[in-house]
């Protein structure tokens, strides 16, 4: 934040504080207009494209010359039908749109749980993203850098070099069941950008997730709920656990996305400690009634 915008924000805040009901302050500030864009339909590419339109299209997120990370979930050695990873067409579409908006380079990667080479292959993401021109690469030990995440739980931690250097991060999680977090949605997906002993994070998973969300602050979050893994997550394997959701949601607000994801499972955001905490830390809006929801249907 430069000096001028700081002063502007400050003055708006001061004026607001004087004349506006403090509880309403948030609602009247420019960030108030959190938009949650939802598209329903089975044309994955079109749904993904349409989902960005109410947000001003990809060009409102990606500027000419940007290095962009499109971060899907490629965690598991599973096929797209098994819905453990992000839908490859969603990923490819976002890569294409980012290039159309002038991105210099779009990178796609994930620090996987199963063997990376198998995950990249079987998820279909490597092929689809590469087809769209993305730089798809496997994570290498030597490219993690220890940085201060400044989180409540996560202090010094290993973060992937490319994630630190990117101009924009577009988080593309898939909606699925997870026993400990109950659901894994957008904020948890950011775990793929870090290294180190990630298996320790489960001890304070909710705090860790919010720490990551705070640190990375993705420019845009696009939720893939085309196929939804409803049980035996996060890696599933049984097609009987997969429901067709045919939904794409997009927002600048990752908390709103997680709240929306919860609603698709018939749960409320308050069922999730990490959503509550992210909201409390001012990361975004968990109450969907306070979010401007724009729904489109393709059919």
């Amino acid at each position: 934040m430069d000096r001028r915008s700081f002063l502007r924000t400050l003055s708006v805040g001061l004026i607001g504080a004087r004349y506006v009901d403090p509880t309403n302050l948030f609602a009247s500030s420019p960030e108030e207009s959190t938009i949650l864009s939802i598209v329903r339909g089975d044309d994955v590419t079109l749904a993904t494209t349409k989902a960005l339109e109410p947000l001003g299209g990809m060009s409102s997120f990606v500027s000419r010359g940007d290095v962009v990370i499109v971060k899907p979930n490629i965690g598991w050695d599973r096929t797209p039908e098994q819905a453990a990873n992000t839908n490859p067409h969603v990923v490819a579409t976002l890569v294409r749109l980012a290039y159309d908006s002038g991105a210099k380079k779009v990178k796609v990667f994930d620090n996987t749980c199963n063997t990376a080479r198998r995950c990249y292959k079987r998820s279909g993401i490597e092929e689809a993203a590469r087809g769209a021109g993305a730089d798809v690469f496997l994570v290498e030990e030597r490219k993690f850098k220890t940085v201060d995440l400044g989180g409540e739980v996560l202090k010094e931690w290993l973060v992937y070099k490319d994630a630190l250097e990117a101009d924009k991060i577009i988080n593309v999680p898939t909606l699925k069941h997870h026993t400990l977090a109950r659901l894994t949605i957008s904020m948890k997906n950011l775990m793929g950008l870090i290294g180190g002993a990630r298996n320790l994070l489960h001890q304070k998973l909710d705090n860790s997730i919010v720490d990551l969300a705070t640190f990375f602050k993705p420019t845009l979050t696009v939720l893939d709920a085309i196929r939804i893994l409803t049980a035996n997550g996060p890696q599933g394997g049984n097609l009987a656990d997969v429901k067709i959701g045919n939904t794409i949601a997009a927002s600048r607000d990752q908390v709103a996305i997680d709240a929306f994801g919860a609603s698709l499972f018939g749960m409320t955001p308050d069922d999730f400690p990490h959503i509550r905490e992210a909201h409390a830390r001012g990361l975004g809006e968990k109450d969907l009634t306070k979010v401007k929801t724009i729904e489109q249907s393709l059919s």
């Binding site: 292959k121 079987r122 320790l200 001890q203 890696q235 394997g237 656990d241």
Partner: protein, 527 residues
């Protein structure tokens, strides 16, 4: 040396042949790895399949022979026809011996009389062969320890190529860390190419890897004592082929009228065949290296087809020693059998999925290490003595180092002797190789009331073999609900991903042991 520098056509062909086969060998070895396909097109096992000793000993020990092994008959036929072309023209270890041997400085002085090593050493390999075969008849399968192809594949897989990988990865890491853009711009694409095509993708390292690697280097170093020391004195496959080559139709011929008694041929012989004088010739020791043919200044040496060698010119094996070797083989049987594991099973003896029942497994496995090379998680390692001495260097899964990847069937595909059968993916996913146990004294929720269940998250079966039971506990911060992992022994297949990812350091709080493995009727746990 007075000899002409010119190399004869035959010797040249031999060197080309060795180069070609060694290159193919190394190429196939690098391809014995996951390269984005579930099926491996060219595993290096074809070299083992062409090895007649593997065919013979596997037949003797297990009475079953994997189809591919019949390829070994090709070299039986070739040996009858021309002699030990296998050793001189094909064997990758032989080629490496020649390569290392060429570094040895030739002594100027003429060869003396046969040394004791030459005289008695050449017989050692036959006794080794007899010992191995006798043991095989009694179903102790030791061939892989000394068979040159198994030895070479094993040594490369767990020793040499991991060391090579280490150097390559380390070198490019170093360049990368220089943080000089221009350096990385050149080195990174090269590195990426090497990583995708030449070196192993990860940085595998194996239990006993340095030991097995050093042993191999030691064997190569023996060339400085005597060129092709291994082939002359120790190689059991060479001995088998030597025995077959007694009937070989291609024979060495020294024209005594043209010979000027320079004895250069004697010094250059790669085997212990004694090409001079004519009466000393021992055809079964000849590896057809063509050195004598090439070096002879008067072209007095030729190889011609004709009747097999007269018996007087064969390596003289004393019946007494053959019997003794057999006796030693027999005596050792009892020692090998003194192994309680044969009856009780061993917790750490988690065999790769598709492995046949343990006794039969030991009768088939030739310890070539291909399964370890191909294992995508670096989970398969050579045992030391868990499976008894006869089972030395056979594969076990060490889940703490690498787990069994649910959708992967590579180890079964590369096994040359069907000790590990090639299972279809769906079948493999159901095959129990062991069972996971939770150590409640170390498990975070049980022992310390800390939430975790990383094991449950990673469990790949559907439904999951690790379930959880919610439990309300009271901590300093008040009441909290914990999820306690519980294993369903009916569903768990023992893949070990839970053990691999368990956040508890060194000894995991969830560990796989072999009990309940499908292949055993004794090592059971459930009714």
């Amino acid at each position: 040396m007075a000899a002409k520098k010119k190399i004869s056509k035959l010797k040249k062909s031999r060197i080309i042949s060795q180069t070609v086969f060694l290159s193919i060998f190394i190429f196939l070895l690098t391809k014995t790895e996951y390269h984005g396909r579930d099926l491996i097109a060219y595993p290096v096992k074809v070299f083992l399949e062409l090895d007649p000793l593997i065919l013979l000993s596997t037949f003797l020990s297990s009475h079953t022979v994997a189809v591919g092994l019949y390829l070994g008959l090709i070299f039986v036929a070739i040996t009858v026809l021309i002699g030990r072309g296998f050793c001189g023209w094909f064997c990758p270890l032989g080629a490496l011996h020649d390569l290392v041997g060429s570094l040895k400085k030739q002594k100027k002085k003429k060869p003396k009389e046969e040394t004791r090593l030459d005289k008695y050493g050449v017989k050692a390999k036959y006794y080794i062969l007899v010992g191995i075969l006798i043991a095989a008849v009694f179903q102790i399968h030791l061939v892989g320890i000394l068979d040159p192809i198994a030895l070479t594949i094993r040594s490369f897989s767990v020793g040499i190529s991991p060391a090579f990988n280490y150097l390559v990865h380390g070198f490019f890491d170093l360049l990368y860390r220089t943080d000089i853009g221009a350096v990385a711009a050149v080195s990174e694409p090269v590195y990426e190419f090497l990583r995708n095509n030449v070196v192993s993708f990860g940085r595998p390292s194996f239990q006993q890897g340095s030991f097995i690697g050093l042993l191999f280097i030691g064997i190569l170093a023996l060339n400085f004592v005597r060129k092709r020391f291994w082939c002359r004195y120790l190689c059991p496959t060479g001995a088998l082929l030597a025995l077959i080559s007694r009937f070989s139709l291609l024979n060495h011929k020294l024209e005594s009228e043209e010979c000027n008694d320079c004895k250069l041929c004697l010094a250059t012989c790669a085997g212990g065949a004694r090409p001079y004088p004519e009466d000393d010739w021992r055809g079964s020791e000849c590896v057809l290296c063509m050195n004598c043919h090439s070096i002879c200044p008067t072209q007095a040496i030729s190889f011609k087809f004709g009747k097999p060698e007269p018996s007087a010119r064969r390596t003289d094996l004393k019946r007494r020693y053959v019997l003794k070797a057999g006796g030693v083989g027999l005596a050792s049987l009892a020692m090998f059998r003194l192994n309680p594991v044969r009856e009780t099973g061993d917790a750490l003896l988690v065999r790769p999925p598709g492995s046949v029942e343990e006794q039969e497994f030991l009768r088939r496995c030739i310890k070539c290490g291909e399964c370890m090379k191909v294992c995508i998680t670096n989970g398969l390692h050579p045992t030391f003595l868990q499976a008894g001495f006869e089972g030395i260097w056979s594969p076990i899964l060490i889940s703490r180092i690498g787990y069994c990847e649910f959708n992967c069937t590579l180890c079964g595909q590369v096994c040359p002797t069907d000790a590990i059968e090639h299972l279809a993916t769906e079948e493999k996913q159901k095959r129990k190789i062991g069972l996971a146990f939770i150590d409640q004294n170390r498990c975070l929720p049980y022992a310390f009331k800390i939430s975790c269940i990383v094991c449950e998250e990673h469990c790949p079966t559907s439904p999951k073999a690790i379930l959880f039971e919610p439990e309300t506990v009271i901590t300093d911060e008040g009441e909290k609900e914990l999820k306690m992992p519980v294993i369903d022994p009916e569903v768990c297949i023992g893949c070990g991903i839970c053990e691999y990812y368990c956040p508890v350091g060194e000894e995991a709080a969830i560990r796989v042991s072999s009990v309940g493995e499908d292949r055993s009727e004794k090592n059971r746990i459930l009714l």
